[in-house]
């Protein structure tokens, strides 16, 4: 799909006040749906955090007016199809892929799930339990890395519409009533918020039929969400999450004004890729922290929200946001190396900001990204997701946007963008650790934190370590806060 056709669709729909429709027809026997509503957790009413998530869950994993959830599962089972929902701050997506043999029967039920929800109390009880158990057990209890990342977002966006986890807050989830969800559905599941995405081998006329069916939703309005700037960070702030755990997971970040469509996005994409391309071993952080020093399993950098990174190599589409943060992800390190690892990441960041990329590093990263971008959209469903995100960001289709921008980009622009947007101060650090008091004392002391190796290291590394182990964090007692894990997301 091209920018011009996507825009035509968008403009035509705006004129006729119909749902926007994006189609990627192909001869595949599979048909993929992405039904997106431009609303999400940032629109949760105050004190009712989790409304957006539970509303979407009631549609995707609850019954419709005609059928109980149990009956829906019965019909879907032989088709091996599942409907999933994903809620982010400003976007909610319902996605499914079916074989074209089953398209008609699947779509009949899928449509009724989204347009005629059943709102059954037993579904709400089950899904509320799922939400609470996800926050308390799956995330807080069993995944230190994702916990650290999510706490980082909550801290950076405290007091901001982005300031709570997409699934919600436990105490609010426990109080939510069916009427809260129905009200959210009425207000936000409107045609003005809707983008229908359809890809694969669907028959002629099908796309128009879907658009017509979804025209029963209220026309509007679009979700009006005022997004203030996140509270400015001063110096370095640290949140230590106390829990019984073997190792220390660290995340570092700060807000950036750059998102897709911003003039500096391609430049910062190059910088991020060179510094810490997700789950790839060529990034600078990975090389210096894991390959040369054996500190942990991997170290990466991001300029866009990328949840579930420990389970996947490519990000999910439809997590589009107006505001993003820059983030460093340090995978769990042995407790005695936590102070050193944090210093090394900041030391590398400092080096990046001061020195930028060499012409050669820039050229190699540009070449990588120009090809790698094809892999992001290699399934029809992903291509569709990226096309929808491009509508959100008002850019051409993602692959052309990135490739064309990279072709024009110069190393000086990358280094200027690095200096403009990246830094080693005015940032937030989160560490999930067992002995937080001790870690706090070490961080505050700014004492050297030498690393001990199990094998000889090159002189260059040992000399660099001498600088890293003394790298000043300059923290004051009020900058370092300890929170027991049990208090998070409550």
């Amino acid at each position: 799909m091209t920018w011009s056709t996507a825009m035509l669709v968008l403009l035509a729909c705006a004129a006729e006040a119909q749902p926007r429709l994006l189609t990627l027809p192909s001869r595949s026997p599979l048909v993929s749906f992405r039904i997106v509503f431009l609303t999400g957790a940032a629109s949760d009413p105050a004190g009712k955090e989790g409304t957006a998530w539970l509303t979407a869950a009631m549609l995707a994993q609850g019954g419709s007016r005609q059928m109980s959830y149990q009956q829906i599962l019965e019909v879907f089972f032989p088709m091996a199809v599942t409907v999933s929902s994903q809620v982010d701050k400003e976007m909610t997506v319902f996605s499914a892929t079916t074989h074209q043999d089953n398209l008609e029967e699947f779509y009949r039920i899928f449509r009724s799930m989204l347009l005629e929800p059943g709102w059954r109390e037993e579904d709400l009880t089950r899904l509320r339990d799922d939400a609470v158990n996800f926050l308390r057990v799956t995330l807080r209890g069993n995944n230190d890395e994702e916990l650290g990342k999510e706490v980082l977002y909550n801290e950076i966006y405290a007091g901001h519409p982005y300031g709570h986890h997409n699934v919600g807050v436990v105490s609010a989830l426990q109080k939510l009533r069916m009427e809260d969800l129905r009200e959210f559905y009425r207000r936000h599941y409107t045609q003005a918020n809707l983008i229908i995405g359809l890809a694969g081998g669907y028959p002629e006329g099908f796309a128009e039929k879907v658009r017509k069916d979804f025209s029963v939703l209220p026309a509007g309005p679009a979700t009006a969400l005022k997004l203030p700037e996140p509270r400015p960070l001063r110096g370095r702030r640290v949140t230590l999450v106390q829990k019984e755990t073997r190792s220390v997971a660290i995340s570092i970040g700060f807000p950036i004004s750059v998102r897709r469509g911003h003039p500096d996005y391609p430049a910062l994409l190059v910088a991020q890729s060179w510094f810490g391309q997700h789950r790839m071993s060529g990034g600078r952080l990975f090389q210096r922290m894991r390959e040369l020093r054996g500190l942990n399993y991997g170290d990466y950098a991001y300029i866009e929200y990328f949840p579930r990174g420990m389970f996947q190599f490519e990000p999910d589409p439809n997590l589009a946001r107006r505001q993003q943060i820059f983030q460093i992800w340090i995978r769990p390190v042995e407790p005695e190396n936590a102070h050193f690892a944090l210093r090394l990441a900041l030391y590398e960041m400092d080096r990046l900001v001061r020195r930028g990329l060499s012409r050669d590093e820039f050229e190699r990263t540009r070449q990588f990204l120009s090809k790698y971008v094809n892999l992001l959209t290699r399934t029809k469903s992903a291509e569709l997701g990226y096309a929808i995100d491009s509508l959100f960001y008002r850019i051409p289709d993602y692959n052309s946007y990135v490739k064309q921008a990279l072709a024009r980009l110069r190393v000086e622009e990358v280094n200027r963008a690095i200096r403009r947007h990246l830094r080693t101060t005015d940032l937030h650090i989160v560490a999930v650790a067992k002995d937080c008091e001790r870690l706090r004392a070490r961080l505050l002391s700014d004492e050297p934190s030498p690393i001990r190796y199990n094998a000889p290291r090159p002189k260059e590394i040992l000399e660099e370590d001498k600088i890293v182990e003394r790298w000043k964090l300059g923290l004051k007692p009020e900058d370092v806060r300890i929170i027991p894990a049990e208090k998070i997301f409550e």
């Binding site: 599962l73 091996a80 209890g141 995944n143 790839m280 054996g294 399993y297 199990n454």
Partner: protein, 442 residues
């Protein structure tokens, strides 16, 4: 999609069961004189090529005591370079190709996979051939990489599911190497830096053409791929090592174990029975696949009762892993309240006992077979997924032909076979039950 693929995909669900091809691609298989096998799978997805190099050695091959986790550590070492391609150059080539590259290790195999643009096929094949033949790393680099493996253990260690698997295997097996997970025992991981020589031995034994199959799926020309593989991999020397994997003695259970988890978490129960090895000829393993879905998938009676109606359980799933040697049939449940653990365990046991007591309804059996066919078709969403799916089966029988043979076997299974297989395996002697409960308060 090319017309012939579309036709095949459409036809497989409507054709008579005996003629159905579930793996819809027309693939080619070629054996080189040194024992290396190449499988080419052209797909219609343009520009992209997915390469999977499958080595039929995994944690099952870790026969020496104290060496658990070595196949996986070795997978890490494979990224440490050769004389021609030191790690920086290896990275630079991958980067220039815009490639996505990684690897994984399981019980029976290790797979190295790279997805890239078609014009880089020769470059990537040449470079991979070099590291499989000429891998070189120093003792110091080895010791450093062993720490990255410890880092991997550490990042997994906050999830009780990993601990459950570790204890389940250790409890259920006495002699076979399935006793340990692929990650290995922590005590062995901590000792890894000391075993440089063993790592070289592992390479000498298993990184040989007769253990290796190259899978290429995507925008490829099979003849050209064959010529390239012959050019770069043809001189690789065949080995001679055959491991003696200790056989597990007959089951003498029932056995059980409990894990006290140090932090708050929901309790788990795992009910396992000794099961058969993977087979595309004998019905046993395939029948247990069907039982897994009949008994514990979203539409099963037990799931509907425990998860949907009574809402006492939030995760319920059965697992019947395809393994070279006999492994376990397992049912996993995460339970919302501690006091329900015993009754959920009993419900799972009663469900399994029913399969051994009465035949299942034929219609239900047909629904599961249909589910499995569509599930597999829906998983083939791009060239990478096609190669990945093929790799899992190639690890077992060295050919994608086993996929169609397995699905043909499913079609032949009747309620009577299900009954007989359930009676054979769901017996007290083969049973292991593991429970886990969290500490502290929520």
């Amino acid at each position: 999609m090319r017309w012939w693929v579309t036709l095949m995909l459409c036809a497989f669900l409507t054709a008579p069961a005996s003629e159905r091809k579930v793996f819809p691609y027309s693939w080619d298989e070629h054996d080189f004189p040194n024992g290396l096998r190449l499988i080419t799978i052209p797909t219609d997805y343009p520009n992209v090529v997915a390469l999977y190099i499958v080595v039929q050695a995994g944690s099952r091959n870790e026969v020496e005591p104290g060496k658990s986790g070595f196949a996986h550590l070795f997978e890490h070492m494979m990224f440490r370079g050769t004389r021609n391609y030191p790690p920086e150059k290896y990275e630079a080539v991958l980067k220039a190709a815009g490639a996505s590259s990684n690897a994984y290790t399981t019980d029976d195999h290790t797979a190295y996979h790279t997805t890239f643009s078609k014009e880089d096929l020769e470059t990537i094949l040449a470079m991979e051939a070099d590291r499989f033949q000429n891998l070189e790393y120093s003792r110091d680099v080895f010791r450093t990489e062993a720490l990255a493996v410890l880092g991997e253990y550490n990042k997994n260690s906050s999830d009780p599911a990993n601990k459950l698997e570790e204890v389940l295997r250790d409890t259920a097996f006495d002699r076979h190497t399935y006793k340990h997970t692929t990650m290995g025992f922590l005590k062995d991981i901590l000792q890894m830096p000391e075993h440089y020589e063993y790592s070289r031995l592992f390479f000498e034994r298993y990184y040989r053409p007769e253990y290796t199959t190259i899978i290429l799926a995507g925008d490829i020309e099979p003849a050209k791929a064959k010529e390239l593989v012959s050019r770069y991999w043809g001189s690789w020397k065949r080995g001679s090592f055959r491991p003696e994997i200790p056989a597990e003695p007959p089951a003498n259970g029932p056995r059980s174990n409990h894990i006290a988890w140090p932090t708050p978490t929901l309790p788990w129960v795992v009910v396992a029975f000794r099961g058969p090895a993977y087979s595309d000829e004998e019905p046993d393993h395939a029948a247990l696949d069907l039982i897994a879905y009949l008994g514990f998938s979203e539409t099963s009676e037990l799931y509907q009762k425990l998860v949907i109606r009574e809402q006492r359980v939030d995760i319920l799933e059965a697992e019947n892993l395809r393994r070279v040697d006999p492994y376990l049939f397992c049912v996993w449940a995460r339970i919302k309240k501690e006091e329900d653990v015993a009754s959920v365990r009993d419900e799972i046991l009663a469900t399994l006992a029913r399969f051994a007591a009465e035949p299942v309804e034929p219609q239900r059996l047909e629904r599961v077979k249909r589910h499995l066919r569509y599930r597999f078709a829906l998983s083939l969403r791009d060239s990478e997924a096609v190669a990945a799916a093929a790799a899992r089966y190639v690890a077992l029988r060295r050919t994608p032909a086993t996929i169609d043979r397995l699905f043909a076997l499913y079609e032949q299974l009747t309620p009577a076979t299900i009954l007989a297989v359930a009676r054979k395996y769901f017996v007290d002697a083969g049973r292991t039950v593991i429970t886990l409960a969290g500490g502290g308060s929520q």
